[in-house]
């Protein structure tokens, strides 16, 4: 029963990561890829690690795995935000089909460079 629960959680996390990696190939520009690549960094990792917590009973193991989950939940949004900000301010071109630049009216024209 415990093993079944752990298996379901681990399989859910790794399937989510696989879907995100497929999206990393199929989406068109950096911002769309960022949208898809930052989902498994928190949810997929949390599912897999909770599955591992359930599979490996023991206080020390649980503590380390929860530490990794907490750290990932702290840092994944920060690193995604940093990449997005740097990409936007460096003036990376968006795909013509994206056409959804909400910040353009607020920060003014930014330097246009080819990607």
């Amino acid at each position: 029963m415990i093993e079944a629960l752990a298996s379901i959680l681990i399989l859910a996390g790794s399937t989510l990561t696989l879907i995100a990696a497929i999206g990393l190939q199929r989406f068109r520009d950096v911002f769309a890829r960022m949208h898809v690549a930052t989902k498994p960094a928190s949810l997929g990792m949390a599912l897999t690690l909770i599955g591992a917590v359930i599979a490996m009973a023991g206080f020390g193991h649980t503590t380390k795995l929860i530490l990794v989950i907490l750290f990932q939940f702290l840092t994944a949004p920060i690193s995604a935000h940093l990449i997005g900000r740097a990409t936007f301010r460096a003036g990376t071109e968006m795909d013509p089909e994206t056409n959804f630049d909400e910040l353009a009216s607020r920060v003014g024209p930014r330097p246009r460079r080819s990607a």
Partner: protein, 88 residues
């Protein structure tokens, strides 16, 4: 039960890592490569968790802590670099 599911999960994670490496080589721009490297490290940490659940060895857990710390540091450094130098 756990053996079978961890085998499937490891196969899925290996495929995802291969797709990330393809994106890293094909690139497009520098942020694409950084993003692919970031998700590759996430996949590596998840693979270590699956291995730890499969073999029940606690050695992998220490490596997971270090790998997730290193991934954050590297992404932060390179994004500062991109912001100063431009996405070439």
């Amino acid at each position: 039960m756990l053996q079978l599911s961890t085998t499937i999960a490891l196969a899925a994670l290996a495929l995802a890592a291969a797709l990330c490496i393809v994106r890293m080589i094909r690139g497009g721009s520098l942020p694409d490569r950084v993003l692919a490297l970031d998700s590759l490290l996430v996949i590596i940490v998840m693979g270590l968790a699956v291995l730890a659940a499969r073999t029940r060895q606690s050695l992998y857990l220490d490596i997971m802590v270090v790998a997730s710390l290193l991934g954050f540091t590297g992404t932060t450094l390179v994004s500062g670099f991109i912001e100063r130098r431009g996405a070439r």
